[in-house]
């Protein structure tokens, strides 16, 4: 086997170096009653070529972005990924390294993550970003747990317009702790009913997503005021950070924690993972941040360098008192985001965000002309909800067969939104694509 370099002669000489007779003898400390009583039953080993063909078969059994015209978003976005991002990520010095525990040998990862932290802080308007978490969902859960720890309070309120899977993950994380998770209801216009927060006691944090799961831009400033009023922290969640290329940043609007998903920044959709948990907060909470942080320092000769820092927050030092249990994070995804943002720059990011906005508005207009109703009045970024006529499900299914994904049905998550579909339009969709969609939706 090409991954196992030992020849029989080498094995024999090593065994005698160890002073045993056989490979079996190395396992004398494993008691019989812990051992398998039969061989592993796995498919026979494939050659590289059999495997490639097999995998291509599986991949071919999926609908992929290149193979269809998809207007699906909802937390996984189809954006163009520059070849340069893939090329950088393909550098084995990056992807075959471990977490940079030994800074002298991992300055590449460390500087890149420091740059990621910086770019993300600037983009979100926050003071500090960590080195990444798993995804937008666990990032939100970690944020609420941090808020509970920081405020020493017991309740969190989460907008119903936060991505339903993020809310589910929050419930999963918090269920055994006994902390209470309230749901903030919706308004008619597709945004969160912030009045719900008024008078709430013992509020550690409220979580509002903007743009929210319907694509609607929330009044984060208003949310911040109300949450701060109750002494809690505003956690601004997001699934589409590209929005901050155009819209006011959560930091600028008063969020105490801004956290969410970074997949839009240079990662393939990859059936939903790996993703990039973005986590940012204010300076004053830095010692409560979950996950790794890279900091600047100097070497013995005073040269600038970077290290993992504030490790005393972390599980390997603090164990059960750590700010989180996270160890391996999603570093290579953070690298992807750094490279992607470096390719775009401020100028490019603004233009790309604007393009996403314009294209979504364009489709809105075309759909309205065609007789569809835009469900919510609140401004949106690159996603929006369409109220479809009765029986549209059949059209939707027909289009799927033609390789067109005419949005995602919302009723599975929001029973009250029967006949509502969530449409996403990114820079990958041309005016012509949208024309085709509308034509097909009405034919």
């Amino acid at each position: 086997m090409r991954y196992l370099p030992h020849t029989p002669e080498e094995i024999a000489s090593m065994l005698s170096g160890v002073g045993v007779e056989s490979l079996d003898d190395l396992f004398t400390t494993v008691p019989a009653d812990c051992r398998r009583n039969r061989d592993m039953n796995l498919p026979p080993a494939m050659t590289e070529w059999e495997l490639s063909r097999h995998a291509a078969g599986l991949a071919g059994a999926n609908a992929s972005a290149a193979g269809c015209l998809s207007f699906a978003g909802a937390g996984s976005y189809e954006h163009h990924v520059p070849a340069a991002v893939r090329a950088v990520l393909g550098r084995s010095e990056f992807y075959t390294a471990y977490t940079p525990y030994q800074p002298e040998m991992t300055q590449g990862t460390l500087q890149a993550v420091y740059e990621y932290q910086t770019l993300i802080s600037r983009l979100t308007g926050m003071d500090v970003a960590n080195a990444s978490l798993y995804d937008g969902a666990s990032s939100l859960a970690e944020a609420l747990i941090m808020a509970i720890r920081v405020t020493r309070r017991k309740r969190v309120a989460v907008s119903r317009a936060v991505h339903p899977f993020y809310r589910h993950v929050v419930r999963t994380y918090l269920r055994p702790t006994g902390y209470e998770v309230l749901e903030i209801p919706l308004l008619e216009d597709g945004t969160t009913d912030l009045s719900f927060l008024e008078g709430l006691e013992d509020l550690a944090a409220a979580a509002v997503q903007s743009p929210n799961v319907f694509g609607c831009v929330e009044d984060l400033e208003g949310a911040a005021d109300r949450v701060h009023d109750r002494g809690g922290l505003l956690t601004a969640s997001f699934s589409e950070p590209l929005a901050f290329g155009l819209l006011r940043s959560p930091g600028g609007l008063g969020a105490d924690i801004a956290c969410g998903e970074g997949q839009s920044f240079g990662m393939p959709q990859s059936f939903g993972g790996p993703l990039l948990g973005v986590f940012t907060t204010r300076e004053k909470y830095v010692r409560s941040v979950p996950g790794r942080l890279v900091g600047k320092t100097v070497d013995q000769e005073g040269e600038r360098g970077f290290v993992l820092t504030l490790a005393t927050r972390e599980q390997h030092i603090r164990r059960e008192k750590a700010t989180s249990n996270i160890c391996t994070n999603n570093s290579l995804c953070a690298l992807a985001a750094a490279v992607y943002l470096a390719c775009l720059g401020g100028t490019g990011l603004r233009k790309l965000a604007r393009l996403n906005y314009d294209k979504a508005e364009h489709l809105k207009g075309r759909l309205e002309e065609a007789g569809f109703k835009i469900a919510f009045d609140a401004p949106t970024f690159n996603e929006f909800v369409v109220r479809v006529p009765d029986g549209f499900k059949r059209t939707h299914d027909r289009l799927l067969k033609e390789g067109i994904v005419a949005g995602l049905e919302l009723s599975r998550w929001y029973p009250e939104l029967e006949d509502h579909y969530l449409f996403c339009v990114t820079e990958t969709k041309s005016a012509e694509d949208m024309d085709r969609l509308v034509r097909e939706m009405t034919s």
Partner: protein
């Protein structure tokens, strides 16, 4: 060649991203604006983000140079204990990049995702088979989230039986994620010590196990690289008191095809695909930490689960006792592809062989170094062995000095100062993909460093000498944290 592997050569300096570039430069291929500019409420619009504008070559060079300051498995031996830094096969990278996988949206109807769902389902089955467990969820995004999943399952299991248990037994040799994951679920970790052989005894567990205790977390092989040989007896004790046995399977690389975790008494176990199953570590992730359970605990697995209905694979949330969802979608699918490819490339026989050779490498190295480095537990080890700096301490040379010096020899350092129960630990895990030549070179380097410690300790204390930077000041970094530029 007995020449030293490490030497110096030309590398380039590279400023921070924002110390480069010029406003208006472009490194991205902006699609044309083929629609009209739509009106937008000015009050919503923020300032343009303050990110540097760079050209594509600026970006490529920047990160190429940065990469050259890094050391990966492809560069050389990376015997980081507890991390299983084995070779990351190239074909697996290619397969994960297939458009049908990389371009798959996670929320399309199941008929459009049969390839992904089948892969997940088969990988679940393979991992169940390899561990001996009954059911698997691939949702956890890394080992620690796998542990959390396990803790949640244990919590839900007890809750479902109407019992509230507040404690969990965690040996002092456990990885930090174990107590931290337990604490996230509201469990109070109760420490137990390993004996002078480096393993847990049934007696020690019996002493603390009670009906307030949810169970025990056991890493097996443990972080000293030793097999917890009393595990069945321990499991018996825990089970007798209604507890659950959690197995940290991060060290599975030692025992594939050898141990049956379920027979050993484990009820719930996590794996690290980014260790045992060859997926690359990415400089710190993404990983994947599947959680595997016995039939009894299956109802509590995270949802959605991928199940097979006839010839079709579907996502099911129909598990009312489930602990719920842990990930925004289904976990690190891109990582799963690589682990799946690895298992199919290896087959049962080679997986077992991999474990045997990993153990052979570790034992060989242990035998060849134990005369110069203190080996606190001089017993047959599994996939790794733990030395200490005890014999060098008198020379005022520490573990840190020893491993920094190893860099000059061209090796990535082992894991250090872990496990905590051993003072000045040097935890070496060679993995099976290192050939005898590399192992010999490493041994030579370590022996040479031991000699230097006697003859010229200053060279160790001032190490590394050949890296682009000298030893970095971690204390200063923590004292006045500067986390962005």
């Amino acid at each position: 060649m007995s020449e030293i592997l490490g030497r110096t050569g030309l590398v380039l300096n590279e400023p921070l991203l924002w110390e480069k570039g010029a406003r208006g430069r472009q490194g991205f291929s902006l699609p044309p604006g083929d629609v009209e500019q739509a009106p937008i409420d000015d009050a919503l619009v923020g300032e343009e983000p303050d990110l540097p504008d760079l050209g594509e070559l600026d970006v490529v060079r920047h990160f190429t140079r940065l990469s050259q300051w890094n050391f990966g498995v492809d560069t050389g031996m990376y015997p980081l204990g507890s991390c299983t830094m084995k070779y990351n096969p190239k074909i697996n990278e290619d397969l994960a990049a297939l458009e049908g996988f990389a371009g798959a949206h996670p929320l399309l109807p199941e008929d459009l995702c049969q390839g992904s769902l089948r892969l997940i389902h088969e990988l679940q089955t393979f991992l169940a088979e390899i561990t001996g467990m009954d059911a698997v969820s691939l949702q956890p995004a890394a080992g620690a989230q796998g542990e959390l999943a396990g803790m949640l399952i244990i919590h839900a299991f007890h809750e479902n039986r109407g019992s509230r248990r507040t404690k969990i037994i965690v040996p002092d040799t456990a990885h930090g994620t174990n107590p931290a994951s337990a604490a996230l679920c509201g469990f109070r970790p109760v420490p137990v010590s390993s004996n002078d052989e480096g393993v847990l005894t049934a007696g020690a567990v019996a002493e603390v196990m009670d009906e307030e205790t949810a169970g025990v977390m056991i890493t097996n092989p443990n972080t000293l690289g030793l097999f917890e040989k009393h595990i069945r007896e321990i499991a018996g004790i825990v089970h007798d008191k209604g507890g659950v046995v959690y197995g940290d399977g991060a060290n599975m690389n030692a025992v594939m095809g050898i141990v049956d975790a379920a027979r050993a008494g484990v009820d719930v176990l996590h794996l690290n695909l980014h260790k045992t199953f060859s997926t690359p570590h990415g400089g710190g992730g993404p990983g994947s930490g599947p959680v595997c359970v016995t039939r009894e605990l299956e109802p509590f697995l995270p949802v959605p689960r991928v199940v097979k209905e006839g010839e079709r694979y579907v996502l099911s949330e129909d598990f009312p006792l489930s602990v719920g969802r842990l990930h925004a979608f289904y976990g690190s699918f891109g990582v799963m592809i690589k682990a799946y490819a690895y298992i199919l490339s290896m087959g049962a026989e080679n997986l077992e062989k991999a474990s045997r050779l990993a153990v052979l490498n570790a034992n060989y190295l242990k035998e060849r170094l134990k005369d110069v480095y203190e080996l606190p537990y001089d017993r047959p080890c599994m996939h790794e062995c733990v030395f200490t700096d005890k014999r060098q301490k008198g020379l005022k040379v520490t573990t840190l000095d020893i491993v920094k010096r190893l860099m000059d020899y061209g090796f990535h350092p082992p894991t250090v100062y872990f496990p905590l129960v051993v003072s000045g630990a040097i935890m070496v895990e060679p993995t099976e993909t290192e050939s005898l030549d590399e192992i010999e070179r490493f041994i030579e380097a370590m022996r040479s460093i031991a000699r230097e410690a006697g003859e010229n300790p200053e060279i160790l204390r001032a190490a590394p000498h050949k890296c682009r930077l000298r030893r970095l000041d971690e204390t200063a970094a923590a004292r006045r944290p500067c986390l962005k530029g």
